[in-house]
């Protein structure tokens, strides 16, 4: 350990602003990338599921319509 006390460590020999600013901003930037990638992943999966559910609904509706018109034809 190069520093005698916590105060000394935080003061960084008078360069506290620059050292902690650098490390802080870097940490924030790296965190932001990870969070952004993970949240995009979630969002994409959700979108994919919604889109496929929509397609399934459309297909089901088409089928129902086809059945209905068929039954109407046989009924008349």
């Amino acid at each position: 350990m190069q520093f005698d006390s916590l105060q000394g460590f935080l003061a960084m020999g008078g360069y506290a602003l620059y050292v902690w600013l650098s490390f802080g901003v870097s940490l924030l930037a790296l965190l932001w990338v990870v969070v952004d990638s993970a949240s995009t992943h979630k969002k994409l999966l959700r979108n994919a599921r919604e889109e496929q559910a929509r397609q399934a609904r459309i297909a089901a509706a088409r089928k129902a319509q086809a059945l209905q018109s068929e039954s109407q034809q046989t009924g008349s």
């Binding site: 350990m1 190069q2 870097s26 990338v33 990870v34 999966l45 889109e51 496929q52």
Partner: protein
């Protein structure tokens, strides 16, 4: 080797590979970054000239080195994509661009924060800082071009061409800026001259470098998964994946 590699040109296999690799990159990367930073911040000896401000080196130098290598890696992926027509290679390329830009930004920011106590101003047109800034512009250009296309297939190819044009230029830019700098600045700026660095200072630096490299790989893999899903929207395997990942409770 080609026989072994070829199945990974298929998006689904590539996705599985990404899932497998991600923890091996992410956790050791974070561990090494934290270990290198703490070692560098608290345990490495003081620099006899720059005092404690030199501790910025443990984030500045790894990010500066890796910002260049990430760009080269991007260009290699683009070349593979163009020559062998691998769609997944373009996805890997575009997955690397944002993290590369962020790392370049970190190198610039820490360079400025180091320059303030050493040179007295936040920004000087130092050769390395200037070429780092231009590298950031190149990254942003690739990202902007990719974003401008609706069709992501086409976007990948276009961004790939631009990445290749950029990579031919990176060494030219680097040397031209260095030469321009010596022409204009004279000896007013003391460069960081690097004598053989003491081993107790070097070890944490190498660990931080390794950590950041693994971290970049992890983010690349994460974003590549996203790119694959974005293009395979309608495939059944994505549906299964979404169902498994999100839980089936509110499925329609």
């Amino acid at each position: 080797m080609w026989k072994w590699l070829h199945p990974y040109a298929k998006p689904e296999r590539a996705y599985q590979l990404c899932v497998t690799l991600q923890p091996y990159f992410l956790w050791p990367g974070i561990l090494c970054l934290v270990a290198g930073s703490i070692w560098g911040l608290a345990f490495a000896p003081q620099d006899y000239q720059q005092g404690d401000s030199f501790r910025i080196i443990y984030i500045h130098v790894p990010s500066a080195i890796l910002s260049m290598s990430t760009y080269v890696a991007m260009a290699v992926a683009a070349l593979v994509g163009i020559v062998w027509q691998w769609r997944t290679a373009f996805m890997a390329m575009i997955a690397m661009a944002p993290i590369g830009a962020v790392v370049t930004f970190i190198a610039l920011f820490t360079g400025a924060a180091w320059g303030k106590p050493m040179w007295g101003t936040w920004w000087v047109w130092d050769a390395r800082l200037t070429s780092e800034l231009i590298l950031l512009f190149l990254y942003l250009g690739v990202i902007a071009l990719y974003g401008a296309f609706e069709d992501k297939q086409q976007a990948g190819k276009a961004a790939g061409v631009m990445a290749l044009v950029g990579v031919v230029n990176v060494p030219i830019i680097h040397y031209s800026v260095e030469w321009w700098n010596t022409l204009h600045q004279g000896a007013t700026i003391s460069k960081f001259d690097k004598p053989s660095i003491a081993p107790e200072m070097l070890w944490p630096l190498l660990i931080a470098l390794l950590g950041l490299a693994l971290f970049i790989a992890a983010v690349t893999v994460m974003r590549m998964k996203n790119e694959i899903i974005r293009r395979e929207y309608h495939r059944p395997w994505v549906k299964d994946l979404a169902a498994r990942a999100l839980g089936d409770d509110h499925a329609v």
